[in-house]
């Protein structure tokens, strides 16, 4: 049987940004179907920042078998990165600079190891740069302008994260009209779960967090709010609200850029 190829792309959140709210992280761990999953953290996009690695272990120590791979201090790390990655249940990619992340991964051949792990059924997840990297193209706001950056292309869509500020929305719409493939955007606290190229679920660690599907329709951009399941829902009304069907907006160019 072919392994399930899964990516969970966070718009923002998880242990990196939602201290005390483990809903998104728990959701990913739940997908493994294992009680004590092996999870490996790749903090490359932050330059392997020590404080980030410590926070990862603090967040996952008690319910998983955590490890990390540092590409800035390889002399002290796991000797065979490929087998280590292939042996994981989850590979968790931290946030930071997408351009630096991709540059370093390619220099160490991590991109092809991750492809192998993905195809072997290791769940890939991450936030910010760690979400953008999986897609064909990313709308990255990490540099002075909001740029279009080619990612690893495991998913054929485009992606934007932290989709709450106007700059990113405007840039995403502009790039779509420039020919960028259609894609998905997630706000902080929202996560997109893909099986293969197909979006199967949107979940959220906050009741108000949303995600959107974006596609070009002629000279307009169609932005559809996606049904989202709030992971912390306890009452039936919360569950209903969380599942509310998406509203569709057709946005002409001028309005889109506003």
């Amino acid at each position: 049987m072919q392994a399930l190829r899964q990516v969970v792309a966070f718009g923002g959140g998880g242990f990196s940004q939602e201290s005390g709210n483990p809903l998104l992280d728990d959701y990913v761990l739940g997908l493994t179907g294992t009680a004590n999953p092996r999870i490996c953290f790749l903090p490359t996009a932050s330059g392997d920042a020590d404080h980030y690695i410590v926070r990862f272990y603090n967040a996952f120590r008690e319910r998983t078998r955590p490890s990390h791979v540092s590409l800035f201090r390889r002399e002290r790390g796991v000797p065979d990165i490929r087998s280590h990655l292939l042996a994981q249940d989850v590979i968790y990619v931290g946030g930071g600079s997408l351009i630096s992340l991709l540059g370093v991964w390619r220099a160490h051949g991590i991109d092809s190891m991750l492809r192998e792990a993905y195809e072997a059924g290791v769940i890939l997840c991450g936030l910010s740069a760690g979400s953008l990297c999986w897609f064909a193209e990313a709308v990255s706001g990490y540099h002075d302008e909001v740029n279009r950056v080619p990612g690893l292309g495991f998913l054929r869509h485009s992606n934007a994260v932290h989709y709450c500020d106007g700059d990113r929305r405007g840039a995403f719409h502009r790039h779509l009209l420039d020919g960028m493939p259609s894609g998905f955007a997630a706000e902080d606290g929202a996560a997109l779960r893909f099986v293969g190229d197909e979006l199967v679920e949107v979940v959220a660690s906050r009741p108000e967090a949303r995600a959107y599907k974006l596609e070009r329709r002629g000279s307009q951009v169609l932005e559809t709010r996606l049904a989202t399941r709030y992971l912390g829902a306890e009452t039936p009304s919360e569950i209903m609200r969380g599942c509310a069907a998406g509203a569709t907006r057709l946005m002409p160019v001028r309005q889109a850029a506003a």
Partner: protein
């Protein structure tokens, strides 16, 4: 007068009080040849760690200059026009870390081209460890774990190996690479030593610590030959904080003995010939 293009390649340096480090900071300010020079740290090779940036700002903040650090990992929070910012400096200092990552990140951001331009414009380029080797055709990196040959930007001819006696495994790999022709002949740079290049010529070597030397390494009938170069000793009156490991001292002694046999041939580098 034509612009002098200069690179100061350091075998090992930090912005702390260990012996020789202060003298090297002084030298950098002096070489800037400008009142209150602007000095910019690129800590890319080690992932822009805060502690290195803090030490850099403190060390150069004590001197008559304007220190600044550009973090390529934090451009989101601190956006800058990289080209304008770098071309506006008097000195650019590339920190140590992973040479493979350094090159990959610089190339991904297009910084390698900007830095070549800075060098051509006469901005003094300094670098230590990975930040030194990166300017040569090649060096010995431990970026992948075991020391291995790595290509640099090739702004300077030849090769370089840093932390020369303090990391014996790296040194052995360098000697093997040169004897086998994997690397061009080059320099073995000990911690707290440096080689100053003008254009692409070695103009001077410096040492800021007792016994620390720069070695010229060349291929010689299937093996490698190490020759100690004459280095200008930098003076420093400050009290250093030091801890020299015994095995390093021993290796240094062995090499010094071997070198003394050839002392007659010891020569000055480059134009001082």
């Amino acid at each position: 007068m034509a612009t002098r293009r200069r690179i100061l390649a350091l075998g090992g340096h930090d912005f702390d009080r260990r012996a020789g480090n202060d003298a090297i900071c002084d030298l950098i300010v002096e070489l800037a040849e400008s009142p209150r020079p602007k000095i910019c740290l690129l800590p890319t090779a080690s992932g822009d760690p805060e502690d290195q940036i803090v030490r850099f700002r403190r060390a150069f903040g004590e001197r008559d200059c304007i220190p600044q650090a550009i973090s390529l990992f934090r451009l989101g929070e601190e956006p800058v026009d990289l080209r304008d910012e770098l071309l506006g400096q008097d000195v650019i200092y590339a920190g140590g870390g992973s040479m493979v990552n350094l090159l990959a990140i610089w190339r991904a951001h297009g910084i390698d081209e900007i830095l070549r331009e800075c060098w051509r414009e006469g901005i003094l380029i300094c670098g230590q460890s990975a930040g030194a080797m990166v300017w040569f055709q090649g060096g010995i990196t431990s970026s992948q774990g075991e020391p291995a040959v790595a290509s640099g930007l090739g702004v300077l001819p030849g090769s370089a190996c840093v932390h020369y006696l303090s990391e014996p495994v790296r040194r052995r790999r360098f000697l093997r690479a040169i004897s086998a022709g994997e690397l061009e002949p080059g320099l073995g740079l000990e911690d707290q030593t440096g080689a100053l290049f003008e254009d692409t010529r070695l103009a001077e070597t410096i040492s800021a610590r007792d016994g620390a030397a720069v070695w010229e390494v060349s291929a010689e009938s299937g093996s490698a030959r190490e020759e100690e170069l004459y280095s200008r000793r930098l003076e420093d009156n400050r009290q250093p904080i030091n801890d020299m490991r015994a095995d390093i001292l021993e290796l240094r002694q062995t090499l010094a003995t071997r070198a003394s046999r050839r002392r007659a041939q010891r020569r000055r580098p480059g134009r001082l010939d």
